[in-house]
Amino acid sequence: MSNNPNSMRTTVRQVRHLGSAKSGTHHAWNMRLTSFALVPLTIAFVWIVLSLVGKDYNTVRAALGSPMLAIIMLLFILTSIYHMMLGMQTIIEDYVHGEGTKTLSLALNIFFSFAVGLACVYAVLRLSFV
């Protein structure tokens, strides 16, 4: 089908009728879901940071380690990290076209998100339990 190099057929034409990838709406739905959750979570996060501006170390430590604030912080961290990982995936798919660099970028995006997310979660849990 695509053997003729002068064919005007696009790659879409070549894969049509082969069936869907079965994951079309998953990304878009999770993006909307995390956006929706992040509206109140972002307001709560800004409120928490604002209440800690200029406070001394022990006050900040105690506040971030208190159950209510720690739970809100953890929800904000997990939701926003997942949201930004999905967003960056879209940006990479839009602008990085080389097969190798695209795969590498997508992998690095996942590594970065997991590393930063885990670091933040570990720090909040340590403030709560140590």
Partner: protein, 137 residues
């Protein structure tokens, strides 16, 4: 000669294309779409600040003092100001997307109002939060 050249070009490249970004006159709705992406990228990098702040708080008083000093320096404050604005601009852009996801606010005057609301809402929230931060210090 000509045939040898076309051989290396993909089928898509030889088909007519619709005009892209550079062709259009800049419009507010277009700029807000681009800014949504740019602020998203800024927030992506900004998570490193949040991680640094939380890790410092979880480490000890000295680490916390170091990070606090860095963040309250002139450069630190500028970066935090940019982070705050990016957060609110992206939040307002997200709310605009929710409205437009329902099919509303896509026509002429409404979409301009929504783009303006994104821009000025983000700036206003940034100013309010920084005023509160300075007032409570």
């Amino acid at each position: 000669m000509v045939e040898a050249k076309t051989r290396t070009v993909s089928p898509e490249a030889r088909r007519p294309l619709s005009p892209h970004l550079q062709i259009y006159r800049p419009m507010l709705t277009m700029m807000m779409s681009i800014m949504h992406r740019i602020t998203g990228i800024a927030l992506y990098a900004g998570t490193l600040l949040l991680a640094a702040w939380l890790i410092a708080a979880a480490t000890d008083a000295r680490a916390f003092a170091t990070v606090s000093d860095l963040l309250s320096s002139v450069l630190g404050r500028l970066i935090l100001l940019g982070f705050t604005w990016s957060l609110f601009h992206h939040l307002m852009g997200g709310l605009r997307h929710f409205i437009q996801d329902t099919g509303r606010g896509m026509e002429h005057p409404e979409r301009e109002y929504l783009a303006q609301a994104t821009l000025f809402g983000g700036l206003a929230l940034t100013i309010v939060v920084w005023a509160l931060a300075y007032a409570s210090r």
